[in-house]
């Protein structure tokens, strides 16, 4: 994924009311160079669905799903608690470098995983109600559904709002704190739900 545009650092003297001034790297909320990679993935995904061949569909579903699961697990259960204990300047710097990439990575891997997965399920017959795996497939729909509601309704708006707050000449640390808390809790819940996804997907793959 393309790097966030880092230019001259911006001094944020009032982001921490009682702390020393700290520098915040300038950044793009949506890294424009990354959009090219997203477009390439989208075109390749459409081609995979149109071809309806086993290998490209499996590739997008497995590669996208692995990325999605690992990112959620790592962010929710490893990085999230670490970010929560960082000093505000360190958290701000980390956030300005991580979050813009997440704005592009997560929707892309989720769309690729789900679209290719649906097509793959049709091709292998797993999504048919006559399939012996149908119950597990429906369980995966429910897990993904709950994760989608959390990700789309809470996590992504908080992610974007944090970035807009950090772009302000005087970011409000209370707003950042509140939104980051929402982000970290959501990421933790999604991380735990990804364990359910792993259980279901490994069961499907081994049956």
């Amino acid at each position: 994924m393309a790097d966030t545009a880092i230019s001259a650092p911006v001094v944020v003297p009032e982001a921490v009311p009682h702390g020393p001034p700290f520098e915040r790297p300038d950044f793009d909320i949506v890294p424009r160079r990354g959009l090219v990679l997203v477009a390439i993935v989208a075109v390749a995904l459409i081609a995979a669905i149109a071809s309806n061949k086993l290998w490209p569909l499996t590739f997008f579903h497995v590669a996208g799903g692995a990325a999605w699961t690992i990112i959620d697990l790592f962010l929710g259960l490893v990085l999230g608690p670490i970010i929560g204990r960082m000093s505000i300047p360190a958290r701000v710097e980390f956030t300005t470098r991580l979050m813009p990439k997440m704005v592009l990575i997560m929707p892309t891997v989720v769309t690729a995983t789900l679209a290719a997965g649906w097509q793959l399920g049709l091709k292998t017959g797993n999504v048919l109600s006559s399939s012996p795996n149908h119950g597990w497939i429906v369980a995966s729909y429910i897990v993904v559904g709950v994760m989608s509601i959390l990700a789309l309704g809470l996590l992504e708006p908080a992610n974007i709002a944090v970035l807009f707050e950090l772009k302000k000449p005087r970011p409000n640390p209370e707003v950042i704190e509140r939104l980051m808390k929402r982000f970290i809790y959501c990421a933790g819940i999604l991380g735990v739900m990804q364990i359910a996804t792993l259980v279901i997907m490994t069961k499907l793959a081994s049956s």
């Binding site: 459409i46 669905i49 149109a50 649906w118 109600s129 729909y141 709002a161």
Partner: protein
Amino acid sequence: MSERPLPPVTALGMASLALIVAGGIYLSAHLPQHVPLGPAVALLAASALLLAGNIFALSRVRDFAWDRFFSVARWSLLAYAVIAGMILYAFLQDHIRGGTLVVLTLSLVVFAVHVPMLVGFTVARYAGSDVRVAA
């Protein structure tokens, strides 16, 4: 942090998304076989009603950062329209037609409108009037 009262846009949005997702799960659990559309239509109608209620409640808020709301929501809308279009393409590719396609398309419309609205709202509620941001 003092905050002025705002309508429960996020809560209503999540409830609406939950209804759309429930309808999607119901339809997906039956596809590609014939699907009885009654429950999916009811879920879609309830979700659309929540969307309409959310838009109405938000439109009545005075002194809201509408410029920021629309500047964020319109780009978000573009992104989610692309995602919804790709999902719709997959359904068309699978020869889904008739009432099922109509319900799925309308569900995608509600999804593609409500998520950008939530993103725009969350950003705009914390927007200060003295701040200029380049997206």
